[in-house]
Symmetry: C2
Subunit: 236 residues, 2 copies
């Protein structure tokens, strides 16, 4: 999905109206794919920069309909189920939001509808999640008014990464409830993962991730409170 006619455009610097149009196109394409009974999940994602696997330099997103529910969604749903069961159905992500907003140490930005935060157990340096504050199962139910709030926080966070981290390669992807799933807990969100370190043999062998920057420092850097160079670790 082409995001702009301008080859040099970047979501961080497009005007708000243009980003809203990108998000509207996500939603419209989502509904079109979801109308196909064979499709069980719609993966919306973006690759920016060569290190993030972008095959084209022209700014674009990708939307793929999948005939099965992805492994990562099954894992997240299982984690949410295990959390909710002994807690009268409380949503795991609602609890994360409550605790993170109370602490503030890992919150990067916030508006009336969305929060951007560094997850407590971030796998990657400057991994950032955007979450709706009020529980919402699925991205595709996003209202027109809330779409403006999402465009604003997405532009804000990508702009911070662009400025503070010197235009890093990054991926983002939306995690939402599977298509036509009538029940089951989910809390949709968008995960941004800059590509500043390489996944190597330890990560591939174990499934564990070495992240040299604690999320509290990552949040402070993205908020402009400390400079990246001061926190930047040497190669290990």
């Amino acid at each position: 999905m082409v995001e702009s006619p301008d080859h040099e455009a970047h979501l961080a610097t497009l005007d708000d109206r243009q980003i809203e149009l990108v998000l509207r196109a996500y939603r419209e394409r989502y509904h079109d794919l979801a109308a196909d009974r064979r499709i069980k999940y719609v993966q919306i994602f973006k690759n920016h920069g060569e290190r993030a696997g972008a095959s084209y330099s022209h700014p674009h997103s990708q939307i793929i309909g999948i005939p099965i529910v992805p492994l990562r969604i099954l894992e997240e749903r299982e984690g949410m189920r295990a959390h909710a069961e002994p807690r009268e159905g409380e949503c795991l992500f609602c609890e994360i939001l409550r605790r993170e907003l109370a602490s503030g140490r890992r919150v990067v930005a916030e508006n009336g509808v969305f929060v951007a935060l560094e997850p407590y157990t971030a796998r990657f340096p400057f991994e950032t999640w955007l979450l709706p504050k009020v529980h919402a199962r699925a991205f595709e139910t996003l209202s027109d008014a809330d779409r403006a709030a999402l465009a604003a926080i997405l532009k804000d966070v990508l702009g911070r990464m662009d400025r503070m981290l010197d235009d890093p390669s990054f991926n983002y992807y939306i995690h939402t409830a599977p298509v036509r799933e009538p029940v089951g807990t989910f809390h949709w969100h968008l995960e941004i993962t800059p590509r500043l370190t390489e996944i190597a043999g330890f990560e591939r062998g174990t499934g564990f991730y070495i992240n040299p920057i604690v999320p509290e420092d990552a949040a402070a850097i993205l908020k402009g409170e400390i400079r990246w160079a001061a926190a930047r670790p040497s190669a290990t």
Copy 2:
């Protein structure tokens, strides 16, 4: 763990005796780390080339003792348990070996003790596994005689990758039974993953891997039966 005093050395071109010494050092360091009661798993791995996350260009391996059993090992063990339960304890990897040796289409190399094969559902182009033919739970029980056979097949496969794929960056890592685990099925093996394509937003979002080369072609290319350029896909 430094593999050679020669800065330009590559496991694919070291002499057999030197590779055996590398494997002997793996085993000796393994036993030393495993003697520490806090260590639950010892991850032996190697990063070669910048794209594979190697921080130093001098040839080296890494051995890390971990105080918990890695996620990937738990997942493999769960898969093996689910396979064995309805089949009177048959080992999943022993069945894979039997079927792959009978078919031969994904086998890259073989000697009296080891097989090198492209897994049926390879995640990465030219992902190659080395497995002992006779069921063995743990790498660290490898005999001196079998170590020579492992050195020979490791050198053979890395040499094929070096020649056919033009010295690609790669990771390899050993999957073996957890330290001091008295029971539980495992069949140790070494996984080699060349770094020819990038993991991007689709893989991160879903946990599914896009692999543009079928394992049968990958095996034929590593055996020199067809040339890589003929099978090489364009960027997607």
